[in-house]
Structure formats: C-alpha cells, structure tokens
C-alpha cells in the first residue's frame, strides 16, 4: 500500500541513521524499516519471508522468494573482508 506518513523529526532522523547503518536505501529503505518495526511491535507475519520451523535441536529457515540460491562460494565471498557484500 502506498501512503504518506508525517513523521516527527527524531523518528525520521532515527530511520535515516538506521538505513545508513544497514548500507543505505537500497539495502534498507525507509519503507522496509518502518514495516520491520511495525511487525516487531505488533507481531504480524512477514509474508515475503521464508517460514522458519523451529523445534528444539532442529531448525529449518525457509528461503524468501527473492533470495539467491546459496552456495559455498557465495558464503565465502560474503564473509571475506574484500567483498562488497
């Protein structure tokens, strides 16, 4: 849903700082940050996320529809200091 929010300056500033901390608008848009915060506070599920099945000693985290297929190489690149990920 597209809407317009009027945010107090401190909230807007916090959102901008959090977005910058997470890598900028592409990685963490204001829309995403607000959505995450609302889900966290009001407990609604994120339908775009993969499901997480947790039983003691066994976890399976589902993949989101837009997640890349993960490989050992991609993990290595993501964890290496010289990557942009």
């Amino acid at each position: 849903m597209k809407t317009t929010l009027e945010l107090p300056p401190d909230v807007a500033s916090t959102l901008r700082m959090e977005s910058a901390r997470r890598g900028g608008r592409k990685a963490a848009s204001l829309s995403k940050l607000v959505s995450d915060a609302v889900r966290k506070v009001y407990g609604s599920a994120d339908s775009s996320r993969g499901q997480m099945r947790l039983t003691p000693g066994r976890v399976v985290i589902g993949a989101a529809a837009d997640a890349p297929r993960l490989t050992a190489e991609r993990i290595q690149v993501a964890l290496s200091d010289d990557s942009g990920l």
Partner: protein, 138 residues
Amino acid sequence: MKFLLDNDVFLAAIYAGHENHRRARKWLDAHKTSGWGIAAETYLAATRLLMNPAIMGSGALPVAEALRAIKTELGGPKPGRIILASRPPDPSLLETATGHRQIMDIWLVQIARDSGAKLATRDAGSLANWPDHTILVR
C-alpha cells in the same frame, strides 16, 4: 565431541535456500548423537549470514531471530557445543595456506584438531590437505 561443523555445512543444514540443504540437514540429523559443535567463529558467521540481505533477500533475519534460530539448533536432545579455541593459531598449519581464503578453513581445522574432533566440511580440498582432521559431508 566428534564433529565440528564448518560454516558452509552448518548454514546448509539450517537454511533451505542453500543448494545442499537436504544433504547437510540429513547428515547433521544422523550424526548429532556422536557429539557435535561449531566454533565461535562459525556461530558469528552464521549470525552474519542470516542477517545479510545479499544472502537471504527479504528473508534476512533481525539479530534476535538469527540468534534464536542458532540457539534452537544447538539445543534439543542432542545439543551442540560452541567451541572456543584452546590454543593460539598454529603457524605450522597456517603456513600451508596457498591463499588468503584458506586461513579461516585452516583455523577451523586447528580448532577441530585441538578439540579432538574432525571438521565436517564439503570442501574436498580441506579433506585432501588435512585428511586426519576432516570428514567430507556428502
């Protein structure tokens, strides 16, 4: 403890989006009874990866959820341990590296060795280099 899981095997076991999820999940379920664990470095790597949108897409987890998932996997009736290195890095092992990306692999091999465990990995290169301290997860 018999097996220390490397970053790739641990993440593959808990994340369905990994290309080897089914095999890693099956392997871990079958081998937990023998005693298992992950290095503190793998714990942190898994947390980083689960929070990373470049890895998880829109399914990237907030830190609390990532930690809860890892804690849950380490719990249960056949719990896994978080292993801290008991000794400083061993230069004689590190000197066998042929590239910078091998350093962490070698460090995990050392932690496994010093813990009396084998490093469970899908990396055939690690198996070839350190056959006494690694086991291949197929």
